[in-house]
Amino acid sequence: MKTKFLLVCLLPICVIALFSCKKENKVAGASFQIPSYDHDLGFIPFNKESDNSEYLVCDSTNVASGRNRVQYHGGNKRLKQDIISAFQFNASYANFDGFITIRFLVNCKHMPGRYRAQSLNYDFSIAEAPSNLLSTSLNIIKELDDWIVKSNNDEPQDYLKFINLRFTNGKIQHVLL
């Protein structure tokens, strides 16, 4: 009786197990390239093509990257206004729906530098921005120099900041901080 009961229990479980094994998710393709960097992700290494060689970072292994650690004098409201008012629409941008993401460091002397910009589609895949939109956006952010840092202690520290500009029909729809 006991054995029969066990066999009755085992049978459906075996069937479920069999189907579970067959239901396999899509496997990661062999061509997948792991994005890998030889430094902490919060750090932006020196690039002689674009960066000022005199711009120094105190400790590349201890860059703070919390969203509110770097703030703008006058707050986010002023920051957004400054960016939007500096932007000048050009007809060649009109077909661009996507993001321009700008990352930069504010070093231990509270100076901004090592700017990087990337254009993306709304789904975060890499996009090609029209004509000079990438450099125009980058220059707007470079012009901002009123940064303040929120330090948790007295030790000088470097910070990472990023600003995501969301464009619709080539115009800034949102400044996402």
Partner: protein, 283 residues
């Protein structure tokens, strides 16, 4: 016969551990021992544990996740965990590449994370697509934002709201409220407020008011509720009451007596400027 029974019991136990549990929905890292010894997944899982001991986004942790992906290319959690610091540091393309892989392996566990970033970057249509797949195709029961503030159906509801499809948004919020009937302890801090917002946008003022009043029972320090109660009273031409609510909203936004606001609703956020403008208007 006794030996056969014992064999059956052991077989049953082994089957549950070896097959059924690893195939169930494991969102957190889980127990590495659930994976077969020396399998790629077991090794990847152990490497992820090691990685978690280092600072998120540090070179050391990233290299361990890389190794985990190499030895266990089917271990979705490694792709997900590696994607997190990329998203948090504005490296969205790399983050997407990684979370897409995690989703291709275990959509039921990782769609929420991509949807979360679509939502806060105002890509509401994409957010909606991921979350509808999560709830409709994968039967998700209760999934929150990574910080646990909001159930993901709230993001889905607001996404519909942002596209002007209020009825669809309300239906998803009601679907969430239905879940709470059996699991009332899971009800969140802002659920009634969000449903009230959608009713308000859909011109269902009475239903909106009822939800805002329920919200006050959950928390009466949240400024945004008072702002919307003010809007309703203003619509009903009760200007004095509206003014009182607006003033209460402003006081709470200024932190008076423990009041607060929140910026977790993206385009559904209420700002101090909005409240101040209303106060000026009604005066």
């Amino acid at each position: 016969m006794e030996r056969f029974s014992m064999f059956c019991y052991k077989f049953l136990g082994a089957l549950i551990f070896a097959v059924l549990i690893p195939n169930s929905k494991i969102t957190a890292q889980g127990n590495c021992l659930l994976f077969e010894a020396n399998s790629g997944e077991r090794k990847a899982c152990e490497l992820c544990y090691k990685a978690s001991k280092f600072r998120q986004g540090s070179k050391a942790s990233q290299l361990l996740f890389d190794e985990a992906i190499k030895v266990g290319s089917k271990f979705a959690y490694a792709y997900y965990q590696k994607s997190v610091p990329f998203f948090k540091r504005g490296m969205f393309a790399e983050g997407k590449m990684l979370i897409d892989k995690a989703i291709s392996l275990e959509p039921q566990n990782y769609l929420f994370y991509r949807a979360y970033y679509y939502f806060y970057n105002r890509s509401y249509k994409l957010c909606r697509r991921d979350l509808e797949e999560l709830y409709s195709n994968h039967g998700a029961n209760y999934v929150t934002t990574p910080g646990g503030e909001l159930e993901m159906r709230i993001l889905l509801g607001i996404s519909y709201g942002m596209e002007g499809k209020y009825n669809e948004g309300i239906n998803w919020m009601l679907n969430l409220m239905e879940k709470y009937k059996a699991l009332p302890h899971l009800k969140g801090f802002y659920d009634h407020y969000c449903l009230g917002r959608l009713y308000y946008e859909n011109n269902q003022t009475d239903l909106a008011q009822a939800e805002f009043e329920k919200q006050l029972l959950i928390n009466d320090q949240f400024a945004d509720t008072f702002y919307y109660l003010g809007l309703i009273k203003e619509k009903q031409k009760e200007i004095e009451k509206a003014t009182t609510y607006y003033q209460m909203a402003l006081d709470k936004m200024n932190g008076k007596n423990g009041g607060f606001s929140s910026s977790i609703f993206a385009d559904y956020n209420v700002t101090k400027d909005m409240v101040e403008m209303k106060i000026t208007e009604v005066q």
